[in-house]
């Protein structure tokens, strides 16, 4: 404990040199901007900005990259809330309640809540990381294929909460998402599935073109058609004071944030799961635990808080396996690892001993970065919200252009641009025919990991399904998942019986 504190103090001496503070600021600011651009999330942001850091000192470079990483994680929420176009996959859940809040004229509160819960999630996670990293890293290792499968099943149960008023259509949407997840080369056999001979489909359909099409482009077409009143928006009170969450908002969100942070941090540590899944599960849990589940999707403030604290906590959690084990847990941390290797540092168990100034400088900079992030956001929230005052036609034209350019930047490929346009077309019909979009994208994200982990588990067990219940963690997760599916039904039945008895 004492050693950790003194190490941390030492880290601060590295992190708060003027030069490193500047790099941290540059990272956080550019990360936020990139995150806000449709399609460009943390991993794309890191990939494109990586070369810039090569000329500078390793510790400054990684501080800047880390700043880009969590800046982008927050930035994704900006466009989700203001124009219903998630900047990246981890911000999809934020748009479910963030955009309705904007329509109600509470864009400022939503942005403020996103900022505060990101800050809390990020900071608490950094503290946990500082003191518990080695212990937690070994806990994360105990997650093998069966545990992942159980976690994905649990993730899928959050679907049930998103099906809207017509469950059949909600589930159809989810199943189609699952189908999209299948497309591409099969991991086990290398056979192409449903790729129609297109090389571009071999690596599967990326989540981002789907989300940008279904949410972004479709939304713009619908809004233009229905002349969706920007009345709510026009009436948004832009005075500084009005831009913050109220006491009621806080009261409703505090436990959501606490749970979401813990959950996000842990899921972030698991290789392969990451911030997106953390945000999904956090949202699902918040809705389950809420006294007002019916308000979710209509503009519940805790619907913004839940995914945002979870995804920022997860982005910190992802550093645990990277720095303690030398294995990257997500696409973004894989890029960070590449960066470390190019700085001549080998991430792994020895990094703490070999380059303490580097590791502790980085950890200390995360504290600094999170503070910078919230200060900057609070300064700029009013400015961002003002984007809504831009004439609607101009805003829509700009957003479409940015979405298409963002889609291209994803893999430097026109294919993703057409894919985005195609899903915009499909998304329009989905909205018109009342198929919810969220289950589609959720199933697309979870589906790949679900299938992979199931097949890995069954290869290990020689084909026996017993493996999912043979290990403590997966058993517990499975039981929770089944509980989440069946409990509401049982509750429903009991209350029906009661009313029957009462009336009889």
């Amino acid at each position: 404990m004492f050693e950790t504190l003194s190490n941390l103090l030492y880290g601060f001496t590295v992190a708060i040199t003027p030069m490193n503070l500047l790099y941290c600021l540059i990272g956080v600011v550019s990360g936020t901007v990139i995150g806000a651009l449709p399609g460009l999330g943390p991993s794309a942001g890191l990939a494109v900005l990586l070369p810039i850091t090569f000329g500078i000192e390793p510790v400054s470079g990684i501080i800047m990259l880390a700043g880009i990483y969590y800046g982008a994680m927050y930035g994704g929420s900006i466009t989700s809330i203001l124009i219903n176009t998630p900047g990246d996959s981890a911000a999809v859940m934020t748009s479910l309640d963030g955009y309705p809040l904007t329509q109600k004229g509470r864009a400022g509160a939503a942005m403020g809540m996103a900022a505060f819960s990101s800050f809390i999630g990020g900071t608490v996670a950094v503290v946990a990381f500082t003191f518990l990293a080695p212990v937690l890293a070994s806990a994360a290792l105990s997650f093998g294929p069966p545990e992942y499968f159980a976690l994905m099943v649990l993730g899928l149960t959050t679907l049930a909460g998103m099906t809207g008023d017509n469950p059949t259509k909600g589930f159809i949407s989810a199943i189609v998402g699952l189908f999209l997840a299948i497309i591409g080369l099969d991991l086990v056999t290398g056979l192409p599935r449903f790729s129609f001979g297109m090389m571009e489909l071999y690596s599967g359909i990326d989540f981002i073109p789907v989300a940008m099409g279904v949410f972004g482009i479709a939304e713009i077409i619908l809004a233009s058609e229905e002349k969706i009143n920007m009345e709510g928006l026009r009436n948004t009170d832009l005075r500084w004071k009005k831009l913050f969450p109220t006491a009621t908002d806080w009261a409703r969100s505090k436990w959501v944030i606490a749970r979401g942070t813990a959950l996000g941090f842990f899921i972030g540590m698991l290789p392969g799961a990451g911030a997106t899944i953390a945000s999904f599960i956090s949202y699902g849990m918040a809705k389950k635990a809420s006294k007002y589940p019916e308000e979710f999707g209509q503009g519940a403030i805790e619907g913004v808080a839940a995914p945002e604290c979870a995804n920022n906590a997860a982005s910190v959690g992802a550093f645990v396996p990277l720095l303690t084990l030398g294995v990257p847990g997500s696409a973004s941390t894989a890029i960070l690892m590449g960066a470390l290797m190019m700085f001549g540092l080998r991430p792994g168990p020895m990094l703490f001993d070999k380059s303490p100034e580097f590791v502790w400088g980085l950890i200390a900079s995360m504290y600094v970065g999170n503070v910078m992030l919230i200060l900057m956001v609070l300064l700029f929230v009013p400015l961002f919200v003002r984007a809504l005052l831009v004439p609607k036609a101009s805003l829509n034209a700009i957003v479409i252009a940015f979405i298409l350019v963002g889609a291209y930047s994803l893999n430097n490929s026109m294919f993703d641009v057409y894919l985005t346009i195609g899903f915009g077309f499909i998304g329009y019909f989905m909205k018109k025919l009342k198929y919810p979009g969220a289950p589609l994208v959720l199933a697309l994200v979870l589906g790949q990991l679900l299938e992979t982990s199931m097949r890995q588990s069954l290869i290990l067990s020689g084909g026996s399904f017993g493996i999912f219940f043979a290990r403590p963690i997966s058993t517990v997760l499975m039981v929770i998942a089944f509980g989440a599916i069946f409990l509401p039904a049982i509750k429903n039945m009991i209350s029906k019986l009661r009313t029957k008895n009462a009336s009889a």
């Binding site: 290398g190 020895m350 290869i459």
Partner: protein, 339 residues
């Protein structure tokens, strides 16, 4: 009024832009901006060169390409900027197809790694080595077999014995079903006459985590990938798949020493599109030769990644490519993977 609003919008966007731009003009970067000011010595290259990496940022090919470009740019060996462009997808085939399309154009280089050889053989790529001009081979990389530190398994012989006693008792982790790892898994099974279980993962990082978590018994990985685990005493190497022992793993026997007649090495290098002009090939051959001889490259890339440096010029690299491609074809035929 309207114009005022537009002006406000434009200014807002400009402001946001200036952040991003500002960050790109941090000190000591973009040497490429200064490069063109130097007087070009010959006419080629006359404009910027694209270095196509058919995989995502942060992967093995990306690290090689970026390290390469960094050394070349730092030393100003090339009068024009070289930009690394990631074209991921389709296990490399998209990037390779993109480069091959530029037939005869000497402004597109592509990095070569194992899927350059394997994807066409598996029918997953429309282009093959015949669509490229070899430029230079730079390094050999291989695979090694790792176990967790506290594992009972200490040698390949033990794996063979155990699997003979109880077939399918040992699980082997690796990346997707058509990667080098899977190929070596099947070769080992074939040559030793045993049966094991292959568990594929999405990335090398996940493979290593599964090993450290004790979810699989052994894994195939590039030596460089696992070096930090070995140094930290979390994993042990029990065999390497190269023909000879490799530096950094001097105590680890080769598969051949262990009595399994199998070896595998992939050649990392650089190619141009087919029919590239000979003077361009010569130009790059010289640049890469200088790179190979530089200490920056040897230390920052070769040593740091436990890779065996080996320079081959255009002609020899061309031969090596054909040999490697034939080797994979033979293996795929043996294990019945070719369609």
């Amino acid at each position: 009024m309207k114009i005022k609003k537009i002006l406000a919008l434009v200014l807002a966007i400009m402001l946001v832009t200036s952040f991003v731009v500002g960050c790109s003009s941090t000190p000591k970067e973009e040497p490429k901006k200064d490069a063109p000011q130097e007087a070009p010595k010959s006419t080629y290259p006359e404009r910027a060169i694209e270095m196509v990496v058919p995989f995502g940022a942060g992967g093995g090919s990306d690290i090689m390409a970026r390290s390469m470009v960094k050394v070349v740019n730092d030393n100003k060996w090339v009068s024009q900027p070289i930009n690394v462009v990631n074209k991921p997808g389709g296990s490399g085939s998209i990037g390779y197809a993109y480069t091959a399309e530029k037939k005869g154009n000497p402004y597109y280089l592509a990095s070569v790694s194992s899927s350059f050889y394997t994807a066409p053989l598996l029918g997953n790529s429309p282009v093959s080595y015949k669509d490229f001009t070899p430029v230079a081979g730079l390094a050999m990389d291989t695979l090694a077999l790792f176990v967790k530190e506290d594992s009972e398994i200490t040698s390949v012989k033990q794996i063979i014995e155990k699997s003979k006693a109880t077939p399918k008792s040992i699980s082997v982790g690796g990346t997707s079903g058509t990667s080098d790892d899977a190929v070596m898994y099947r070769v080992l099974q074939d040559k030793a006459g045993i049966e094991m279980k292959y568990v594929p993962f999405e990335s090398g990082g996940e493979v290593m985590t599964a090993l450290l978590g004790g979810h699989v018994d052994v894994v195939w990985a590039n030596p460089g990938e696992a070096l930090s685990q070995v140094e930290a005493g979390k994993a042990r190497a029990i065999a390497v798949a190269s023909k000879e022992r490799i530096p950094g793993f001097d105590n680890v026997p080769t598969l051949i020493e262990e009595g399994v007649q199998a070896s595998l090495a992939q050649f990392r290098g650089v190619v141009l599109p087919k029919d590239a002009p000979p003077e361009a090939v010569k130009y790059w051959e010289d640049v890469f030769k200088k790179l190979h001889e530089s200490s920056a490259w040897q230390n920052d890339y070769i040593k740091a990644n436990s890779i065996t440096p080996r320079f081959l010029g255009s002609e020899e690299f061309g031969k090596a490519i054909v040999e490697l491609s034939d080797m994979y074809a033979e293996i795929f035929k043996q294990i019945g993977a070719t369609k």
